[in-house]
């Protein structure tokens, strides 16, 4: 049995990618399963989707805990979750390197690790979603299903989309497949199964967020005693920052921030807590003096997202 686990964020199409592969495998004459797993989460929250493939009817209906292939649709998830959990030494990991290129952090594992610039390839094909690119790359690495079966599955799974969008998705599947085929060649040539980057050190905050394990369900906990999950990883490439010299301390950003990510000391605005900011841009929208600006995730900032005004003179 082949088991594929997708890690993505709500809205990135992990569920669609899992279905796409399943339908293509079905075309190839296999028995398949595809289903997502998420809690009460929203757009941007980490979630998983699974694809199971076998030559016989599949009786197992549980979530996949020991996958053969792990597909990560968002590079930030590598730091946030243990994506390689249960992945055997024969398995392989495919990570969308997103806008990070070679700076993507890949876990140090025994199996094959491949970074795919899926965001770029998707953009080249005219879609915003990397999921179909990743499905193409995985199929190429596995050697099955064929590109034709995969393209047929696009029409099937995305039947409700307009033809123009399906066309873009067919292109992105093709891009991913071609990338996978080429990558496989390099992997064969070097026969190296090692990642090029050191193992990530989970951020201190991430460790704090997972906190102690609760003893049992229904245990009474003191209000405010239990750690809360961090939501900074939900941001999609932009973060808020502030020019304090322009700030009039109206605290409208504090008032409307859905995530309590605006740091206030007493009645004084200080800046932003990136551990929780989901990047909704409301602070930027309500700021009356344009003190708050949205900048690239990668841009350097001072503590709490404070920026220094560069004088024109």
């Amino acid at each position: 049995m082949l088991e594929i686990r997708f890690h993505g964020r709500g809205g990135q199409g992990a569920k669609t990618a899992s279905q796409l592969l399943a339908v293509a495998f079905l075309e190839a004459g296999r028995f398949v399963q595809a289903f997502p797993e998420y809690g009460p989460e929203r757009t941007g929250a980490p979630m998983m989707a699974y694809t199971r493939v076998d030559e016989r009817p599949i009786r197992l209906h549980a979530a996949i805990s020991e996958p053969d292939v792990v597909v990560v649709l968002d590079p930030s998830l590598v730091l946030e979750q243990n994506v390689t959990e249960g992945l055997g030494s024969q398995g392989f990991l495919v990570v969308n390197s997103g806008g990070l290129g070679s700076r993507v952090i890949l876990p140090d594992i025994e199996g094959i690790v491949l970074a795919v610039p899926a965001d770029e390839l998707a953009e080249k094909s005219g879609t915003r979603h990397a999921n179909t690119v990743m499905a193409g790359a995985v199929a190429a690495l596995l050697g099955e299903p064929s590109l034709e079966q995969l393209l047929g599955a696009v029409d099937d799974v995305l039947a409700r989309l307009p033809e123009s969008l399906r066309l873009h998705n067919r292109q992105s599947v093709q891009e991913g497949y071609t990338y996978g085929v080429n990558a496989l060649r390099t992997l064969d040539a070097s026969s190296a199964k090692k990642p090029v980057h050191p193992a990530p050190q989970p951020a201190r905050d991430t460790q704090a967020a997972h906190g102690p394990k609760l003893g049992r369900a229904g245990a009474l906990i003191r209000p405010g005693d239990y750690p809360v999950p961090l939501t900074g990883g939900w941001r999609m490439g932009k973060k808020p920052a502030v020019f304090l010299n322009r700030c009039v301390n109206c605290l409208l950003c504090w008032q409307f921030c859905p995530d309590g990510a605006v740091v206030v000391d007493g009645t004084t605005f200080l800046g932003f807590d990136y551990a929780y900011c989901k990047g909704c841009e409301i602070c930027d929208a309500v700021c009356p003096t344009k003190a708050v600006v949205m900048i690239d995730e990668e841009s350097p900032v001072g503590s709490l997202g404070q920026l220094k005004e560069v004088s024109a003179s």
């Binding site: 941007g44 609760l214 003191r222 405010g224 750690p227 504090w254 206030v264 989901k278 909704c280 929208a285």
Partner: protein, 351 residues
């Protein structure tokens, strides 16, 4: 009365609702919850019906709440609040609790307008003292944007889709404020997430009400309404400024508009920002657009008439006591049931 700075300071002295929930980017609910909770002096306990707020703030084993909080089903939040209020009085009579308590119920429009309506009606009639806050995002957003009786006329949802055969929801929304006001409870109000000072004042009046108080607060929902997360405040503000969402309060049966936009903007401005009304801008939909404007104009007319009728009452001595609003404490106060929690803290956690 509490201004934004006092609320910010209060929320640090006595944190009640924190970060780290999984509500959507640009969600309007947390702002409402924080404004409600940080406007209330003294200990607070929360009853939360099943809703976006409930599922997203208490993902096991995490919680964003820092006060006593209880989750109950969609249909019985007001009934459970009645029981908690009765238990509080019993404990107080026996001398086991001495602190005051403000009981707040949070429920969505589905849990208020539809599923929880009979429990709410019963609790209001029995006169239990609590503040019921309905955060209204105008559909069942938690389960995937199905229409509720709060969904406005013409809005497209997954169960009232716009297409060749239909143009979104064919029925106008239910007026929950009138339904609740018909119970003759001391305080009923309609507020919006964008007008935080108005909302805070209304919460503080509800805090003073000796009996049930009800607030219907317009939230924003980027995925359900189809707008950019950054436009959340703007969309809600336009709902108020167009007169679609009049900010009213009903004090002891007397209606008044607590905010009057200097000039009502055409409702088109509010509609165009939202994907759920996109189909109304097709060439043959002028009739529907006119109908929406008519519904709003009629409603606004009714509200201004009621407002004028009760002007004399609001000038009376009886009305004046509602203008005295509490001030927020500037130092920490003991939380509700603190000694009880101490007991649990000493009990080792079976790891």
């Amino acid at each position: 009365m509490a201004n934004i700075k006092e609320m910010a300071a209060h929320s640090q002295i006595d944190p009640r609702f924190g970060s780290g929930h999984s509500l959507c980017r640009g969600c309007g609910i947390p702002s409402i919850v924080r404004t409600v909770l940080s406007s209330i002096p003294g200990p607070v306990a929360v009853i939360n019906a099943t809703s976006c707020l409930e599922v997203a703030t208490t993902r096991y084993p995490f919680t964003a709440w820092k006060i006593p909080w209880m989750h109950v089903a969609f249909e019985n939040s007001a009934a459970v609040a009645s029981g908690v209020e009765a238990a509080y009085h019993a404990l107080k009579a026996r001398g086991e609790l001495s602190e005051p308590m403000t009981l707040v119920v949070f429920a969505g429009d589905g849990g208020t307008y539809d599923i929880g309506l009979q429990a709410l009606s019963g609790a209001l009639e029995r006169g239990h003292r609590f503040i019921y806050v309905c955060y209204d995002n105008e559909a069942y957003m938690n389960t995937g944007i199905q229409r509720s009786s709060a969904t406005p006329f013409g809005a497209s949802t997954t169960t009232s889709p716009a297409g060749r055969a239909a143009m979104g929801k064919p029925e106008p929304r239910k007026n929950i404020v009138e339904i609740v006001a018909a119970h003759r409870i001391p305080y009923v109000a309609q507020a919006a997430m964008s007008h935080w000072q108005d909302l805070s004042n209304k919460v503080q009046r509800a805090y003073h009400a000796e009996g049930p108080a009800f607030l219907n607060v317009l939230s924003a929902c980027p995925p359900g309404w189809g707008h950019e997360p950054r436009d959340a405040v703007r969309v809600v503000r336009l709902a108020v400024d167009s007169g679609y969402w009049p900010l009213v309060e009903v004090i002891e049966g007397h209606w008044r508009l607590s905010y009057r936009p200097s000039e009502r903007v055409p409702v088109m401005q509010w509609l165009t920002l939202q994907g759920r009304f996109r189909h109304l801008f097709q060439p043959d939909q002028e009739e529907a657009l006119e109908k929406i404007q008519t519904i709003i104009d009629d409603e606004w007319e009714r509200m201004t008439q009621r407002d004028a009728q009760s002007a004399s009452w609001f000038a009376s001595e009886q009305a004046r006591r509602w203008e005295v609003l509490p001030t927020l404490p500037d130092s920490w106060e003991p939380r509700l049931g603190e000694p009880m929690w101490e007991h649990f803290r000493k009990t080792p956690n079976p790891a």
